[in-house]
Symmetry: C2
Subunit: 142 residues, 2 copies
């Protein structure tokens, strides 16, 4: 298992990117809007993981609510699962609470979320590892 | 640059470990007390990074204050720098605010922290990359 990305809720993804570029040696950045999730995403690719800057594009986005309640900061971390169905069933058996079932996330990968109460206040996304995971992110291989 | 670890403030590191073991395929765990920092640390080694569970061992620990103010959750993320002095100077020139200067952290590595105001609410630790960083954590090599 590896950390696929760290997602940070921000008021403006482009302003936040300018801040992160002051610190990070950034090789590759991708910007996309995800209408389903009501967010604009700036993805900063690091050596082995990604930082996702999430800006809400609607008042109804869960990211809007997060920003209103807590201000800017880390929203969730995503961890890869080699066999997501097996890992979800294993975790369910152990009493881990999920937020909704498996669904299709970006890049067509299966994802689900775990309730922060199950993991000491941390919202964790579990996502299917890319096939033949060699430590690169999926989009580096395409 | 890569993510060295994700640190999570918890009330009990051992109880939290039991929770994380329900989800994670954990190969290697290390437990240590760090009296200087007034914390007990459980380190969960994943494929390419670590999750650090931080339990305060004193009321005066900054982790105690964090738990009191915000409850359990992600406390900081640590990012490696290949040449930490260069990267710190570069970031200072760009207006990034640091919390104290460079000091020696665990495993004798130089570290410093960046003010969350500079990085959209995220507390970031910058730490010197192990020599000849090949994607393994330092302790995997020892």
């Amino acid at each position: 298992m590896r950390v696929d990305h760290i997602a940070i809720a921000v008021n403006s993804a482009e302003d936040a990117l300018e801040n992160y570029k002051k610190l990070l040696n950034v090789d590759k950045i991708e910007i996309e809007e995800v209408p389903n999730e009501m967010v604009k995403v700036v993805m900063i690719n690091l050596q082995d993981t990604r930082i996702e800057l999430l800006e809400p594009t609607s008042e109804n986005s869960p990211i809007s609510k997060f920003l209103k309640d807590r201000g800017e900061g880390i929203h969730h971390i995503a961890i890869t699962a080699d066999e997501i169905e097996t890992d979800v069933n294993h975790a369910l058996d152990k009493g881990i609470k999920f937020l909704g079932g498996l669904r299709t996330g970006s890049y067509g990968r299966k994802i689900t979320f775990i309730h922060p109460k199950s993991l000491n206040g941390v919202l964790v996304e579990l996502c299917q590892a890319p096939p033949q995971d060699d430590g690169q992110t999926l989009e580096n291989k395409i």
